[in-house]
Amino acid sequence: MQQEMFRSGWRTVCAAMLVLGTVPALGGCINVAAPDKPIVIELNINIRQEVIYRLAADAANTIEENPEIF
C-alpha cells in the first residue's frame, strides 16, 4: 500500500521533471551534490566599539556597586 503511494509519488516527480525538460538521472530524479568545503556561518562575536562606548558609564556603576569583586 505504502509502496504504491511512493511509486505514484515518484512518477509524479518524474513527470513534473519531464514537463520542465529535465531528464531524470539513473536510480532517482534528484541529484544533490554536497559542497566539498564546509559551510561557514560567520557570527558577529567581535567586540563592537560603539557598544563599548555606550557601556562605559554602565560599567563604571557596576564597579562602584560591587567593590568586593573589583
Binding site: 562575536i45 567586540i47 563592537r48 566599539q49 557598544v51 563599548i52 562606548y53 555606550r54 557601556l55 562605559a56 554602565d58 560599567a59 563604571a60 557596576t62 564597579i63 560591587n66 567593590p67 568586593e68 569583586i69 573589583f70
Partner: protein
C-alpha cells in the same frame, strides 16, 4: 473572607524580611576581602583586558583559588548586567577598560599585547577600542 487579607499581610511581612536581609547582604558585601586587597597591592594579581582578574607569575594555591572565585562572581555580574545591552564578552571588556584606568600605581594590569605591566604615574596602556 479574612483568609486572603491574612495571606497578603503575611506576604507583606515576608517581603519586608527579604528586603531587610537583602540590604544586610549588600552592606556585608561592601568591603573587599583583605587577602584580595593585599594580593592586588602586591601585584600578585592584575586586571586582564577581558574584564577578569589574572594571576601574575607563580602564586600560591590560595591566591589562585581566590582569583577563580572572584572571576566566577564577576562573570555572574557581567551576565546579569549585559542582559539586553550587549554580549557578556562586550560588557566584561567595557568594564576592563575602566578597571585598568582605575588601577593605582604599583598594581598590575594587562597591556593590549598580553604582557603584565605595573601601573606607573602616567596613563595605562589600553586597548584602542577603550573609550
Amino acid at each position: 473572607m479574612a483568609t486572603p487579607i491574612r495571606k497578603s499581610v503575611a506576604a507583606l511581612g515576608l517581603a519586608g524580611a527579604v528586603l531587610v536581609l537583602g540590604i544586610g547582604g549588600v552592606a556585608a558585601a561592601q568591603s573587599r576581602d583583605p587577602s584580595y586587597a593585599a594580593a592586588k597591592a602586591a601585584g600578585q594579581v592584575g586586571e586582564q583586558t577581558d574584564g577578569y582578574l589574572g594571576v601574575v607569575g607563580g602564586q600560591s594555591p590560595d591566591v589562585r583559588a581566590m582569583v577563580k572565585d572572584i572571576n566566577n562572581k564577576r562573570r555572574a555580574v557581567y551576565t546579569e548586567k549585559a542582559a539586553g545591552k550587549s554580549t557578556i564578552e562586550e560588557y566584561a571588556f567595557a568594564t576592563a577598560c575602566r578597571l585598568i584606568l582605575e588601577t593605582k600605581p604599583g598594581e598590575k594590569y594587562q597591556a593590549p599585547d598580553g604582557t603584565w605591566k605595573t601601573r606607573g604615574a602616567g596613563a595605562p596602556e589600553r586597548d584602542p577600542r577603550c573609550p
